[in-house]
């Protein structure tokens, strides 16, 4: 297969057959559409080998993340003391806890699956790296959440965690005993971080497509005869 020339690509994605793009915006649009055309971003089909329950866990993690954010929004809008004094508040706190547990549960199974499928193959290493990064940033986000519970656990976790952070020299800037600071990290900075990295991760998956089976070869039925093999 040959790499399409720039002119061929331009021709394919735009109606502008004669004029090259002269604006940053135009050139950016062309690049984006080349990397991720709409039918790749929102496809109606998947390769035939995407046929296993292992593939639902990434999506399960994203669905859980949506519930985490929604329940978190309700909690933060009502302030950190709400759940101690309100039955509804306590229930929303429970949904926040359990959606987080499900989030990590699905994410870990997704990670195990992706490792045993060697999903970094074929130029997908950035997808793998952003995935692990999402994991790490999520752990940090979850940790700061515990500090906002304003109960015994928050006190104890703050007391213990300060040692690791002080030893690393960042304890004064990331003061786990400062509720105001931790609130900003937990409801603004870290959710934005998780959201951005997960979005990037998903875009990479859409760009590269789901990785083919290990040892897939040219002679395989599903490749050689597309119509025949999909029975």
């Amino acid at each position: 297969m040959t790499v399409p020339t720039r002119e061929q690509v331009t021709e394919h994605v735009t109606d502008d057959e004669v004029e090259p793009f002269s604006t940053w915006t135009g050139r950016a649009r062309r690049w984006m559409l080349k990397k991720l055309p709409p039918d790749k971003l929102l496809p109606e089909s998947q390769p035939s080998y995407v046929a296993s329950w292992i593939y639902v866990f990434g999506m399960g993690a994203i669905a859980s993340l949506a519930v985490v954010i929604a329940s978190g929004l309700v909690l933060s809008l009502n302030g950190p003391s709400w759940w101690h004094v309100s039955g509804l508040g306590h229930f929303v706190n429970s949904t926040h806890l359990w959606s987080v547990e499900f989030f990590f549960l699905f994410m870990v199974v997704h990670l195990w699956g992706k490792f045993w499928m060697a999903s970094w193959r074929g130029g997908r290493v950035l997808t793998w790296i952003t995935g692990v990064f999402s994991f790490a940033v999520s752990i940090a986000a979850a940790f700061t959440g515990y500090l906002l519970q304003t109960n015994f656990e928050s006190q104890w976790i703050a007391f213990e965690a300060k040692d690791a952070l002080n030893a690393a020299g960042i304890g004064a800037w990331f003061n786990v005993a400062d509720l105001g600071q931790m609130f900003t990290w937990h409801i603004v900075l870290l959710p934005l971080g998780v959201g951005a990295i997960v979005a990037f991760h998903v875009i990479l998956v859409r760009m590269h497509g789901v990785v083919a089976p290990i040892d897939a070869a040219e002679g395989d039925a599903q490749l050689a005869n597309a119509k025949e093999a999909s029975k």
Partner: protein, 54 residues
């Protein structure tokens, strides 16, 4: 249940399983066990046949 993993302690209703220095709280054990179970099930359970696309 893994035979090595026996009741290590029970502190006022909270259950801890484990052996030797390794104790795990019941809640965490269930979460981790669920991860393993779901992973195995995802691998072995049959997946519905999809519709062909040209």
């Amino acid at each position: 249940m893994v035979p090595l993993l026996a009741l290590a302690a029970q502190d006022g209703g909270t259950v801890y399983l484990g052996w030797g220095a390794f104790t795990i709280q019941l809640g965490n054990f269930i979460v981790i066990a669920s991860m393993v179970v779901l992973f195995v099930l995802a691998l072995v359970l049959p997946f519905p046949k999809g519709r062909k696309r040209p």
